[in-house]
Amino acid sequence: MRVCPEHGPPSSPEHKFCEVCGRNLVTGEALPVPTVSLSSRAGLACTGCGASGTEPYCDNCGRRRSAGREHAELDLSAVAAVTDRGRRRPRNEDAVVIARYDGGLVSVVCDGVSTSTRSDAASHGAAEAGVAALLDALTTGADPAEASVLGAHAAAKAARAAAVPDESDTPPSCTYVSGVVTADAVTVAWIGDSRAYWLGAEPACLTIDDSIAGQLAAGRPAPATVDADPTSRALIRWLGADSNDAEPQVISLRPEGEGRLLLCSDGLHHYMSDAAELTAAATGNPIEVARRLTDVALEGGGHDNIAVAILSFPAVGGSTV
């Protein structure tokens, strides 16, 4: 009798594959988990007038095309994300990409820096390039820490490429935080002030903001800048054409029990930054948590763009997907 160990017998005894998961019931072989990723990048419709196209400026109304959607919900079950324009900003310049592969879950959040134009181009380019490089490395045997460094390098290159040659202004730039969750470890890499939190038994913020205030709060020496205001939250590291800095800080942990990895832009942690509070709010499945935390930021005022990604730990290969 051909029976799937997870989903029972097929609807007809003749069937050679499980209708639920596609397992080959003759050989007993499970389908390989396909690598899948989702991005918050906008579709072809112009956010200004709805006309579709791919030019950098809408061919009908002339408005610069937004790289990202005003509101996006990405759901791969064990990993999910929500991003929102917020209530004040004209465009959503935060980007989030989520992915799963045969072995774990991946996400990158990038926050477009608002002092530069077209920072949504940098954030989306960086987030997508980061995830692509991470998946490439992870599926060819790199360990998560190595893969995370390669992901940040690829993201930095993509952010630099978002600049156009004769641009007069500050080139597009963004922050970067990546998360990789496997069966036994959580690995985070970052440049800038987008954060990663461990939401679980011992909740904690895993990242240290690349700002003067962030460095001082972490007990690190103040970086040598001209105007070193100890309360300054201005970025001291970022990705973009005006930065040669592509080395992320990387941290790995092997949590004892179940939990979630949260990646977010300051659009959320401006309103809720306490790891315990965040953990308390993180009930339900990943997409529900991402929605709830986005609402927290919106209800708080939504002064900035919001991006929230939730990755379940431990990642259990194909069976949880």
């Binding site: 007038c49 809408c58 061919d59 009908n60 109304c61 002339g62 610069r64 004209p90 134009t117």
Partner: protein, 431 residues
Amino acid sequence: MTAQFTAEVDQNEYLPEGGRVVDAIVTVTAQGGDLRTASPALTAAQVIMVDTSGSMAMPGTKIAEAKKATAVAIDTLRDGVAFAVVAGTAGAHMIYPGDTRMVPANPQTRAEAKAAVSRLRADGGTAIGRWLDLANYLFAGQQAEVKHAILLTDGQNQHETPQDFQKVLDACEGKFICDSRGVGTDWVATELRKVASTLLGTADGLEDPSELPAAFRAMTEAAMGKSVADVALRVWTPAGSSIRFVKQVYPQVEDLTGRRAEVSARIGDYPTGAWGAESRDYHISVEVEPDAVGEEVLAARFSLVSGGQVLTEKLVLARWTDDTALSTKINPQVAHYTGQAELAEVIQEGIKDRDRGDVESATAKLGRAVQLAHESGHEGTAKLLARLVDVVDAPTGTVRLKKQVAGVDAELTNVRSTKTVRVKKKQPEEG
């Protein structure tokens, strides 16, 4: 096509909240070296129209220099270029070849043509429209990519009605390019400018008939140097916007706004004729729907196209800001060419007022012209204006009309009123 076209945009893209008007200067340059060596010369045809009205014999140097100039132009034609020489009076007749057609230039046809020109006699009236009509007929039989005419006249267009003249111009528009020159004292600047505008050529007057041969050579050389024909300026503007104007502003002011040919609802083409190794500036002004502060729109996409191929393309942007330091900044190029366009206008109007006897208005307008010419360092125009007015104080534009002015000086000033200069290079700091 291997011609190298490049374009640069000068603008202040920042608008205040609610701001609507976007101005930009686009400088288009066609590179010389690449044009000459990499692209084959275009096929060309040239018709030379020489005024042989009776007045060309008074003084006799006019007809003598006109013959010399025509011979020089014939010698400047490349081998194989189809050409013809037309004598213009109250009618138009073929000088060379004898029948109404064009022949390819070669040593034999050049010699025959020059011999025919040397036998020219000045006798008759002036009806420029008839000359152009014959040229149009001759060109119609030609396949050449560049069709170029030279028109030389010394008198007023007396022997046809302005309506007939206009009808011929309309018929010739887009069929060939025509450079016109006035010689002597009786030609009319507005007529020559009209020919130049409609037929995408240049207009000028010569102070002395002895300048004719050099002028004919220069016009023919420029025509022979054209390497891209039928270039159109293509402008895309967004939904909800309107084009205030599109002007060529260098080397001369030419308002192209009314010459738009619709390509689509968003796109229009404006004719610019043929290009050799040269550089031209355009001023485009667009009114857009205001967007929120911080937003950015494409106010115009500006390209040059020929035969369906885009030669170069540039974007004109608009961004709204609450930073008045940004939005109030005046782009020096835009300001300069706004001034140059006003300069052409006040000269033309000032001369018209002067001819009508409206001394007060003429003084005000020519005074403003002196002031603008002074500010922009337009020395050629400043010198011409000084023949019409006594300049009391150039910076304030204080002038007095001269009592005695040679008629040709007013025509020269008028015909050259549209010639512009580029922004002065910054003077090195004195120290």
